[in-house]
Symmetry: C2
Subunit: 140 residues, 2 copies
């Protein structure tokens, strides 16, 4: 089963966000394993990232895609990575330059979201990607 | 006090989303009034929209902006509308063409979000816009 890790800065305290994430994790359970990791700082992000093989950075300068394009991209990256993929979400300072230089960058929007909200949107897009790939009715 | 209305198709059943919206509504309370309206269908959307004077449509074909640009746009539209502004979020079929032709279109992302999530993201961007305009530290 594919394993997706999302690393971000700062742990979620909001109850609603945990509930929302739980809802999508439940739906994703038959399809893929999802793991969250947190770092306290940018330095922490560097050391966590160093342990990962296949990283995709969420960054305002990254490539923007619609959801169907993202689903193909997601599948392609899963294959390339042997189904072990890590997404990185930066904190207020963004992702350190040295990580960004070494990995592909994608962007969810031109707008700035809280990094908690970014995590939720990413999880929903990953769920949407799996549904698009299955050909279900979720993505209308 | 400015009054913002968000009209969307289909009422929110998710508890987490209501909690999330409440959190932002509470924060917005000293700055602006926010009202939600729902229609059951596209036809309902048409009749609700007919009662509104200043409408902004959320649409995949709409103009994309970063959050700072959105804050200026938001302020400009508030002024133009006499502080009575309505945002429209379509259902699975999107916003009917006849409404879209008559009003400005903006887009939050190239990606497709659930319309519930779209509402949350919009509310957060409106809150972010007010904080940017105040010069607070929310938008780092």
């Amino acid at each position: 089963m594919p394993r997706i890790k999302i690393i971000s800065v700062g742990k979620t305290k909001e109850r609603w966000l945990q509930d929302a994430l739980q809802e999508y994790l439940k739906r994703l359970k038959p399809t893929l394993e999802m793991e969250f990791q947190w770092s306290q700082s940018d330095a922490g992000l560097l050391s966590l990232a160093a342990k990962e093989k296949h990283i995709i950075c969420l960054d305002p300068e990254g490539k923007m895609m619609d959801s169907v394009t993202f689903s193909s991209y997601f599948q392609e990256q899963l294959e390339k990575s042997g189904a072990r993929l890590t997404f990185l979400i930066g904190g207020a300072e963004g992702i350190p330059q040295e990580i960004k230089k070494a990995h592909p960058l994608i962007s969810l929007s031109r707008m700035t979201f809280t990094h908690q909200m970014t995590r939720l949107i990413l999880v929903e897009q990953i769920y949407r990607a799996t549904e698009i790939l299955k050909g279900s009715g979720y993505h209308k």
